[in-house]
Amino acid sequence: MSTILEGALYVMRDNVDTDQIIPAQYLNLVPTIPEEYEKLGGYALIGLSEAQHPERFIAPGELKTRYPLLIAGRNFGCGSSREHAPIALGAAGAQAVIAESYARIFFRNCVATGELYPIESAVRLCDTLKTGQIGRLDLDAGTLVVEGVIHRLKPLGEARPVIDAGGLFKYARRNHLIPVR
């Protein structure tokens, strides 16, 4: 697993809830059915208001994003327990989200699925960073570098190896918590 993730930023504000990440009408898609997993990616963050987010996370007609790094404020992922939320982001090609804080179930679902890294920033970044800027996220160093400026991130702690492994099951097998198949 590379410890460097690099790409364009997509910047959101506080309280981006699971209905904005994946609106309820798309929950008829079952994430473990491969073609429905792909479709979920195409709807990622479609619930964000157009007025506040004229640059869309997924361009019309696309299934993948050109923004692998998400930036947000407080309480990212609040609301429902739908695992469709981190899955839609991961299926779209997002690799990490860097927010001031997370809702509990969303954070846990990121770790369990291994879809993306939910990282806390040391200070609020969503007021200063802009969508489209290029960021270089160094997981080992705990930094995000944007246009030469270094932003400190909080360590992921025990969640990191689980996501590195590819989620709860792969981690549990690797560590003999459940039998290896």
Binding site: G47, G79, R108
Partner: protein
């Protein structure tokens, strides 16, 4: 230890646990539904094998309830996927939409939304159904693939929502690694005054701590005020722990809990033995505050989140297009009867939709008499569009043909539990959360209205 710590210690086979500690917990009940069930089953099969058996078929409860009364074929298919898994695994507690296990579910849009389209096994909204069908045994650990699973905390359980992957893990092993949360204590005193409901109390509390104020924490409601509340009231409050970001909400066990639980276990023949937990004399709280229920007034949470607290009487300038009563939080018989008391003999001024949480609620309303008329009739005559098709319906939007869904931008007042942008359908709608009394009074006037002047005084 607090109630939550004692429950997790017991389920983890430990004498003591402390907040922050990770504990492998033995799960008593795993609940899933049509929106997250097929994905959970997919994870289970992928990880444990196509021929694997669940850890204990008697401890899995499957309740289709979210996208049921819709012509969306993928949603109908998801109910069929649940039925297939139930047959394969020999799961007993499956509250299917249809009674013939060999058939498939198809909603008939031509028959309309109002008349019953389910069989005898159907149980309606999962959290209300879990309680109504005797699956909420005090002292147990109940996990569900739905954030409002915390409602079962009303019955002295540790209950919380989990994702598909965690639920797939539980299906195969019966265990899950859980972090012991810190406990926030809400000591309730007094009793709810005239015109005020449990919904007002929890909206008041969420406004107090903020809608991420309990993130990663347990919310413990105790004191004589908590004991004064009915089980329906406690369910409303525990349900909304998640709207403050809480991991779980929990109440003490008392004679009311016992009476409610024992009657339902008997009626449905679920496992009868249970052992409630009591808090220790020594409890450590990260927050400890007393709330006087008698001082609470009709409260709303304004757009766009459950923490935007305001008093109903200060919101008279907000014009409404729609009113809605239903969901796990607000679709119980007591909620509809409160609503009916306000609208009896009057007419609503805006489109008003009523979706009972369970078929049992439908029956109760059709039988319960108010001055010689059934409560159901009273509601219909007041202009409420009542459906017999108990389900989550428009509380979470759902497919476009969902009953009551906000398909264009509008202002809606609702007895449900969540009002993030887009929650009930259109993302440019504004949703206001309130008690059934306040929703009813507001339906009569077309503006957010304090219900106290619209209620008969006795």
């Amino acid at each position: 230890m607090t109630l939550t710590e004692k429950l997790l210690a017991r389920a983890g086979g430990k004498m003591r646990v402390a907040p922050g500690e990770n504990v492998w917990v033995q799960v008593d009940v795993l609940m899933t539904h049509d929106v997250c069930g097929p994905g959970t089953i997919g994870v289970f099969h992928r990880e444990f094998g196509r021929d694997a058996k669940v850890w204990d078929a008697s401890r899995i409860v499957i309740i289709p309830d979210h996208y049921i009364f819709t012509a969306d074929s993928r949603s109908n298919r998801n109910v069929d996927l649940l039925r297939e898994f139930v047959r394969e695994q020999g799961i007993r507690w499956f509250y299917d939409v249809i009674d013939d296990p060999k058939s498939v579910w198809k909603f008939d849009a031509a028959k309309g939304q109002l008349k019953r389209q389910y069989g005898d096994a159907f149980a309606g909204v999962c959290h209300t159904a879990l309680a109504a069908k005797g699956h909420t045994r005090p002292g147990e650990v109940l996990l569900g693939t739905d954030s409002h699973t915390c409602m079962a905390g009303a019955f002295n359980l540790f209950a919380t929502g989990i994702g598909n992957t965690d639920a797939g893990f539980v299906m195969g092993t019966g265990k899950l690694l859980l972090k012991v949360p810190e406990t926030m204590r809400f000591r309730l005193e007094g009793a709810l005054p005239f015109g005020v409901m449990a919904k007002d109390a929890i909206l008041h509390v969420i406004g107090e701590i903020g809608f991420d104020g309990a993130t990663y924490r347990a919310m413990q409601f105790d004191g004589e005020g908590a004991r004064s509340l009915s089980m329906d009231d406690r369910m409303t409050i525990a349900n909304m722990a998640i709207e403050a970001g809480g991991k779980n909400g929990i109440f003490e066990f008392d004679a009311k809990t016992k009476a409610y639980v024992d009657a339902r276990i008997r009626a449905n023949g679920t496992r009868a033995a249970y052992e409630p937990v009591e808090a220790d004399r020594e409890q450590k709280f990260v927050y400890d505050k007393t709330f006087d229920l008698s001082k609470i007034e009709p409260t709303v949470a304004k757009h766009p989140d459950p923490g935007q607290r305001a008093l109903a009487r200060d919101c008279g300038d907000i014009a409404l297009d729609r009113a809605y009563i239903g969901s796990c939080t607000g679709g119980k018989a007591s909620d509809f009867l409160a609503f009916a008391r306000v609208v009896k003999g009057k007419r609503v001024k805006i489109d008003t939709f009523g979706v009972p949480a369970t078929p049992e609620v439908v029956r109760e309303l059709q039988v319960f008499q108010m001055d010689g008329k059934s409560a159901w009739r009273v509601l219909e005559e007041a202009g409420v569009r009542m459906t017999e098709n108990a389900s989550c319906a428009a509380c979470l939007g759902g497919p476009e043909d969902t009953f009551g869904r906000l398909n264009r931008p509008m202002n809606c007042i609702t007895a449900t539990n969540r009002n993030f942008p887009g929650r009930m359908g259109h993302k440019d709608s504004k949703v206001y959360l309130a008690s059934p009394y306040t929703v009813a009074a507001s339906a009569l006037t077309g503006r957010i209205t304090d219900p106290r002047e619209h209620l008969p005084s006795s």
